[in-house]
C-alpha cells in the first residue's frame, strides 16, 4: 500500500521579527520605509528588519492511517508546521502534497460566539471547521451528548462554565470527519474524565484508518496514541522515529548533559522579576553529576536571580519519568516555617537546594522541570523539560534479581515475614 497522506518537501517559513510582525503598520511607516530604502540602499541592507526561520527545510511523509506525534519545545516550530498543513498560513518555501480533507483542532471553540446558544454555536463552529449543514444536522445529537450539555443547549454559551464550554467546543471538532486530523494540545483542557474521553475519541479516529497528526507536550499521551513521532527543534526536523525512541531522544537531548543546565540570556525574558540561572544535580559531596546512584542521596539545586522583591515566590521542581509521568512536585516554600520567613523574597541571587533521600527512585532516566510562581498571582517561569539525569539502581533493594522493576520509585521498605502457623501434615 503506497498510500501517502501527506508529503512535505523542504518546507520553510520565514517570519520578519521586529515592527512588522508584532505591531501593525501604518501608512506613514510604509511610505517612509520605501523612501529610506530608495535613499540609502547601500547601508540599510543590514539594518533592515531581521528574519527568523520558524521552520527550515523540513521534509517528511505520512502514510494513510498513520498516527504521527510531533514534539518539540515551545517555539520549536510545531505550531507553524500545523498552521501550514491546515492552510492557515502559507509556507515561504517548499511544498506540501496533501491527499484528503484536512480538519484541524488548532484551538477548540474557534468562532464560538458568547451570545449564541450552545445549539447555534454547534452549527456556526461546525461550518467554520468546514462541515456541511446536513452533516452537522445528522451529528447534532451525538455532539450534544458527547459534550454532556443536553440541558443547556438553548442557553447562550456565555453562561456556560468553562468546562462545559470546552467540552462543547471539543465535541464539535471531534465530530468533524476529515481524512487527516491535525490536533494541537487540546488535551490540556477539561477534567481527567473528559480528557480520557478525548483520547478515546482520537484513537477511534485512528482506528477508522484516518491519519492523525498530534502535537502535545504530554509525553504519555504521545506514547499512548502515536506510532511514530517527529522531533522538531529550532525549526529543524531532528528525528523521525518510532515514538518510544523519539520521546527518549527528545527528553535526553537538546536538554543539556553533564547534570546541569545553564540558561542562556536569549532563552529567558530578561525583563521578568525572576530569571533562572541554572539547575543542577549534585552528589553528596556537591559535585555536579549526570548519573546518581539510587542508593545514595543527592541534591537538586536551582540558582536564580530575583530582580525585584516578589511576594510569595516559591521555586519548585517537577520530577518526571522519561514517559512523561509526574513522580512528584515540590516547592522550596512547602514547609510552614519557610512559608512564613520568606513571605516576600527580596531581590538578590539565590539558590534553592533540595535533598532527595537515598533509596527512593528506581533506575532509569528522569526529567526535571522547574516552576517559579506566586500562588494564584503569577507564574514567573515554567519549564517542564529543564534537565534530564539518570538514576543507576545497582545495589538498590532487590537487585539480586537482575530484572527491571515497574514503577518510578524503588523505596527501601521494611517487610515483615512471620510464620503464623505450621503447615498441617
Amino acid at each position: 500500500m503506497e498510500k501517502t497522506a501527506i508529503k512535505a518537501t523542504n518546507l520553510g517559513k520565514k517570519y520578519a521579527i521586529g515592527s512588522s510582525i508584532n505591531a501593525y503598520r501604518t501608512l506613514r511607516e510604509t511610505i517612509s520605509e520605501k523612501f529610506s530604502i530608495k535613499n540609502k540602499q547601500p547601508q540599510t541592507s543590514e539594518v533592515l528588519p531581521d528574519h527568523i526561520w520558524a521552520l527550515k527545510d523540513v521534509s517528511f511523509k505520512v502514510e494513510k492511517g498513520e498516527v504521527l506525534g510531533i514534539i518539540g519545545r515551545n517555539g520549536a516550530g510545531k505550531s507553524t508546521l500545523l498552521k501550514i498543513l491546515s492552510r492557515v498560513t502559507e509556507p515561504t518555501e517548499g511544498s506540501v502534497q496533501i491527499y484528503g480533507r484536512v480538519g484541524s483542532l488548532l484551538e477548540v471553540g474557534t468562532g464560538f460566539h458568547p451570545e449564541l446558544t450552545g445549539g447555534e454555536n454547534i452549527y456556526l463552529n461546525g461550518a467554520i471547521l468546514g462541515m456541511k449543514k446536513n452533516e452537522i444536522k445528522s451529528k447534532f445529537d451525538e455532539i450534544v451528548s458527547f459534550a454532556e450539555v443536553e440541558k443547556f443547549i438553548d442557553t447562550p454559551v456565555k453562561r456556560y462554565s468553562s468546562g462545559m464550554y470546552l467540552r462543547l467546543a471539543f465535541a464539535v471538532a471531534a465530530h468533524l470527519e476529515p481524512e487527516i486530523l491535525v490536533v494541537d494540545e487540546v488535551l490540556a483542557v477539561g477534567d481527567a474524565e473528559f480528557q480520557r474521553k478525548c483520547l478515546g475519541k482520537m484513537s477511534d479516529v485512528a482506528k477508522q484508518g484516518r491519519t492523525v497528526l498530534f502535537v502535545s507536550h504530554n509525553m504519555s499521551a504521545i506514547l499512548r496514541l502515536t506510532e511514530k513521532t517527529l522531533v522538531i527543534d529550532k525549526g529543524n526536523l531532528l528525528l523521525r522515529a518510532p515514538t518510544a525512541k523519539a520521546v527518549d531522544y527528545y527528553l535526553s537531548s537538546g536538554l543539556t548533559q553533564e547534570g546541569q543546565r545553564i540558561w542562556q540570556p536569549e532563552e529567558i525574558d530578561q525583563k521578568s522579576h525572576f530569571t533562572p540561572v541554572s539547575i543542577r544535580v549534585l552528589d553528596e559531596k556537591g559535585t555536579v553529576i549526570e548519573t546518581v546512584r539510587s542508593t545514595e542521596s543527592f541534591f537538586i539545586e536551582v540558582e536564580y536571580l530575583v530582580r525585584k522583591p516578589i511576594k510569595g515566590l516559591r521555586v519548585g521542581i517537577y520530577l518526571i519519568t522519561s514517559h512523561g509521568e509526574f513522580v512528584f512536585t515540590s516547592f522550596d516554600m512547602d514547609s510552614t516555617e519557610k512559608f512564613e520567613s520568606y513571605a516576600v523574597r527580596k531581590a538578590g541571587l539565590y539558590h534553592s537546594r533540595v535533598k532527595i533521600p537515598a533509596n527512593i527512585l528506581n533506575g532509569g532516566r528522569y526529567v526535571l522541570g522547574i516552576n517559579a510562581s506566586s500562588y494564584r498571582i503569577k507564574t514567573y517561569f515554567h519549564d517542564e523539560q529543564a534537565l534530564a539525569f539518570n538514576v543507576d539502581s545497582s545495589g538498590a533493594p532487590g537487585t539480586q534479581w537482575p530484572e527491571s522493576r515497574l514503577g518510578p520509585i524503588r523505596p527501601a521498605l521494611e517487610w515483615e515475614i512471620k510464620k503464623i502457623k505450621n503447615a498441617n501434615k
Binding site: 491546515s86 492557515v88 506540501v96 502534497q97 496533501i98 491527499y99 480533507r101 474557534t110
Partner: protein, 290 residues
C-alpha cells in the same frame, strides 16, 4: 425512498472524492481567485451572516428598530436643513421621501463599508486558527446589512402610501439597482478590509471617506443639479447610478437608465474585480499580520 437516500449518500461521497489531493506552497504575485473554494464554503457565508444578525442588536434597547431609525432620523435632519431651510430642489416630489429613497441604499452601502472593513480584524481569532476562504468575512458583513435594508424598505412603502406616490411601472428593475449597490459595497469592502489588516489607518480614514462619498452621491440633492458635461464623470461613482436608479424606479423622477447607469455599472464591476484580486493577493499575509 431508499434509493433516493442512497443516491444522496453517493453524491456526498462523490463530492468528497473530488476535493482530494491538494498542494500547499508559497504563492507569488497575483493569485487566482479560487472561486471554487468560496463555492464549497458557501454555507459559511450564510452562517456568518446569520451570526452577525443574531448578535447585532443583542443588549440594545431598541433592537432592530435601529435599522429604521438610522435612515429615518437622517431623513428628518435632511428635510429640515436641506429641504426646508436651504430649499434644495427635489425633482417635484416631497423632500422627505426624496431623501429617504436615497438614504436606504446609502445606509446599506455605508454600513457595509464600516462592517466589512473591520471584518477581518474583528475575526482575527478565526483567521489565525482555521482555514476558510477569507473573502467570506467581508461578504457576510455586507449580506447582514441587506436585512436592515429590507426593514427600512418597508418604511419607505409606508411613506409612499402616506404621500400617495404609487410606485412606477419600472419598479421591477429595482433589484438590479440593489445588486449594483451590493457589488459596489463588496468591491470597496474587499479593498478596505484587506488594507485594514496591513494599515489600521483605514479605521480613521473611513469616516471621512464615507462622508465625502456621500457628498459625491445625490443623496441630499438631485443629480440634475450636476452640470450635464460632468454627468458621465459623476457617474463613475457607482452609488450615483444606484440612487438615480432607485428614484427613477420608485418615484419616477430623474432620468431613465442610460449612459449614466452604464458608466456606474462598469465602475462597480471594476471595483469588485480589482477588489477580489487585491484581496486574494494580500490574503496570504492575513494570518501572519492580522
Amino acid at each position: 425512498m431508499v434509493s433516493r437516500e442512497s443516491r444522496k449518500k453517493f453524491l456526498i461521497m462523490g463530492k468528497k472524492d473530488k476535493d482530494k489531493k491538494s498542494l500547499i506552497k508559497a504563492s507569488h504575485g497575483w493569485a487566482a481567485l479560487n472561486l471554487r473554494d468560496l463555492w464549497l464554503y458557501r454555507e459559511l457565508i450564510f452562517f456568518m451572516t446569520w451570526r452577525d444578525l443574531k448578535v447585532r442588536y443583542k443588549q440594545t434597547l431598541l433592537g432592530a428598530s435601529w435599522a429604521i431609525l438610522q435612515p429615518f432620523l437622517t431623513m428628518i435632519v435632511f428635510s429640515i436643513f436641506f429641504g426646508n431651510l436651504a430649499k434644495v430642489p427635489s425633482d417635484g416630489v416631497p423632500y422627505p421621501i426624496f431623501s429617504y429613497t436615497a438614504l436606504i441604499p446609502w445606509t446599506l452601502f455605508s454600513k457595509a463599508l464600516q462592517d466589512a472593513s473591520r471584518s477581518l480584524v474583528a475575526n482575527r481569532h478565526m483567521i489565525t486558527k482555521v482555514y476558510f476562504p477569507r473573502m467570506i468575512l467581508p461578504l457576510s458583513s455586507v449580506m447582514a446589512g441587506l436585512v436592515d435594508f429590507l426593514i427600512a424598505f418597508v418604511v419607505l412603502l409606508g411613506m409612499m402610501w402616506y404621500y400617495k406616490i404609487p410606485p412606477t411601472a419600472n419598479v421591477w428593475v429595482l433589484p438590479i439597482f440593489l445588486l449594483l449597490a451590493l457589488v459596489t459595497a463588496v468591491g470597496v469592502g474587499l479593498w478596505l478590509s484587506a488594507l485594514n489588516v496591513l494599515f489600521r489607518d483605514i479605521n480613521y480614514v473611513l469616516p471621512f471617506l464615507t462622508q465625502f462619498w456621500m457628498y459625491l452621491t445625490p443623496v441630499a440633492y438631485p443629480s440634475s443639479m450636476v452640470p450635464t458635461e460632468w454627468q458621465v464623470i459623476y457617474a463613475l461613482n457607482p452609488m450615483a447610478g444606484v440612487i438615480e436608479g432607485f428614484r427613477w424606479a420608485l418615484l419616477g423622477t430623474g432620468q431613465p437608465p442610460g449612459i449614466m447607469t452604464l458608466v456606474s455599472s462598469i465602475a462597480a464591476v471594476v471595483l469588485l474585480i480589482s477588489g477580489m484580486f487585491y484581496f486574494r493577493r494580500m490574503e496570504r499575509l492575513f494570518a501572519d499580520m492580522v
